[in-house]
Amino acid sequence: MALYPFTAIVGQTEMIRAMLIATVEPTLGGVLAFGDRGTGKSTAVRALAALLPTMRAVVGCRYHCDPASRSALCPECRARRAAGRLASERVRIPVVDLPLGATEDRVVGALDLERALADGVKAFEPGLLARAHRGFLYIDEINLLEDHLVDLLLDVAASGENVVEREGLSLRHPARFVLIGSGNPEEGELRPQLLDRFGLCVEVKTPTDLDQRIEVVRRRDAFEHDRAAFMRRFAADEAALRRQLVGAMKLLPLVNVPEAILRLAARLCIELGTDGLRGELTLLRAARAEAALEGDTVVTESHLRAVAPAALRHRLRRDPLDESLAGARVERAMAALFSQAAIAA
């Protein structure tokens, strides 16, 4: 069934940009989209799946290992490689939707019950983490997910490796994925220690502009009424955005960060009192991805400005009673800091 095209999403520019940045720079730590109901958070993630370019993967590998990356191969591919060349094919970048009610065994992977019962063979049956390797893992309603699963997912997302120690199995396999979470703050808050695990955090609001709201409804109806025609209408936009993504991925390793921008990023983080260095690192990585998306090879202040709210708003030392996400504070600090920088320069 055709999915709603990514480029047909009206407004929500910050969320869309954040998802593109996370695609270009998968090591960023993913995106948390927090906000109102019915604002297209899930639609955007599912649409992203259709937009993504393909990638090379080893034929027959359960983790779709990258044949070009020697260090990140799974044990089976390493064995295959030792035996000869690795055959590869182009596959879609996986976007795995974590179903609500998923159990730990299907997330982590577990002993293959069928083979164990029938043949008495101890075989590993990979789970969702294996499926999401090199792609995206989407958790809708992350604040409704059982705590032990959230902990597990964040741990794997941070380490890039899934370690399975259960039912007599002992193995590990690579599981590098971009985590995308969405939730509604009215349903309860996310544990604060989990917030800053996410690279970017965006606030998604219902559009207040009437014309925008009309366009949302208009497009939704057009899509439902005649999917094929709607897909054709946005086919060119989708292709253009896909080219932009592929270009940005290629460009990313070449993007430089000048000393002045490093200093500016550091001062911004000090000013805002973000804990640890994760904030600065994320800010810089996101700014590089932003520059790559713009086709630039040097990070400028405007790139930094564009990504700072999403990279920092969830890392401010929280006054727990303050409104949960503080994009405004980041904006204020930037306004003060950047005007100074402009004068100094």
Partner: protein
Amino acid sequence: MSPLPAPRKPTRDAGLAACLFAIDPVGLGGMVIRSRIGPARDGFLSRLRGLLPGATPVRRLPTHITDDRLLGGLDLAGTLSAGSRIVASGLLAEVDGGVVVIPMAERLDRSLAGKLAAVLDRGVVSVARDGVMSERDARFGVVALDEGIGDDEAAPGTLCDRLAFVLDEAMLDDDFVWPGARAIARARRRLAGIVLRDETTIALCRTAAALGIDSPRAPILALRAARAAAALAGRRSIDDADAILAARLILAPRATTLPAPEPPPEPPPESQDEPDAAPPPEARETQGDDQLQEEPPGDASEELAERVLDAARSALPLDLLAALAMSGGPRRAARAAGGKTPIAQGGVRGRPAGVRPGRPGHGARLALIDTLRAAAPMQPLRRRERAVQHPGPMPRVLVRAEDFRIKRFIAPVRTVAIFAVDASGSSALNRLAEAKGAIQILLADCYVRRDQVALIAFRNRSAELLLPPTGALARARRSLAALPGGGATPLALGIDAACALGIAERRRGASPLIVLLTDGGANIGRDGKPGREAAGRDARAAAQACAAAGLAGMVIDTAPRRSGFAAELARLMDGRYLPLPYADAAALSNAVRAQAA
């Protein structure tokens, strides 16, 4: 949404909603019926059933349904006897193409509502549990039977947001002439061919905006309802009458603000309701055509928007005004309209939290799949052993005690701190600001421990629940900041209110803690009459009632000098006594922590 709305003339709206739903159950999501059990509801449901094709599956979904029955999972008996994996579908996949009926939807817990919402959005149920990964079509409509009384109990907003219609008890009793299933079937066939004009989209969006409806789902649902209405009327394109009907049925019940009255002689909706909301059924039925003849829509989408808004305005729920007046703003009403109380996580008790080896029984449930997994690798060995020890027929699986795995559940640890704040004049003079500060500290502490808080203020002659239990502390902070001070001190009423809420919360599975902040200067009794002596007596009785109910409590004395009375209350409540002058941040938070533990 009040249990007993003011009598309205019977309308045909419920019947019309049922028809539209029967035409496009998947597109419209479904309906919430706010009504107690009774012949009106039963009659409505059976007539609704009559509109659907005979083979339509209709299933009841009990609120205690387990995930394996809801979503699907491993068919254990089948798998064991076949020796290969057999997948059992869940209720949602089984009801594909039909209707799910949810009785007692007000008791539906949030995670179940979340799962339903995810399936409604995708039309597919994906399962990743108990060794099964599968995706199956699950396209269905939902009829949520909400028997909640008052605004505190309602079906979860995640679900209601996706269901087009909200009907209340008074609407069910109507004189609608129900069409036959064949008329509905004809309308269904016409549905895909219905032509839409852009004016309709614009008019519905404008109306939604004017009524303060945030969710973009509302105008989308309204548009689908307008399509279904056109199909029902046998039209090829959406008419103004269809848009008007959709606005009345779908947008009006979601309104959170009153639209700014455009024409000056606009009477307030409350008085307008009688003549306008329920025109005689004949008029309503033919309304669209009449209006078409009188004032052709032409190019004026403005004008259509205005008429659609009028229609919605005239159908605004009666209690909207009252709700707005009470809350002093649309925010609270928005929640009420969304049908969700902020009482979080009604059914979290006993959330599964992984599996570990152990003996089943004593409340621990056997995790069958995991037990089998544990047993599986040992089978060849055990078979050989058994063949030697007990020659004869061999069971398919040899399970031993050491294989047993049990499910772990998290005990109900949700703590609700109920702050009962004395906002009277004497207290305001003394240190209401400091009391507020103290609460802020406690709130921060609750936040860290993921507790919920509730806020009750008492002054003059009443105690008011400013904030029902919530985990969203930003909200608590807001209502605290807005807390006014002044007036007499109805201490007994404040304690009673906290006590009642505490008992109600305990019934919901939470462990409540009452934190009373007062200077002890009671001067209003339980009967609302002034009089220091009676007030003191009543307050003592109320404190004793708290203790008798077994509620944990503490008293924070906000008087400038320690008042003997506050200390006495603490004693009667069997709780701690903390005079504020000595209660610094750390002491306060330690005290609450100790009590909550």
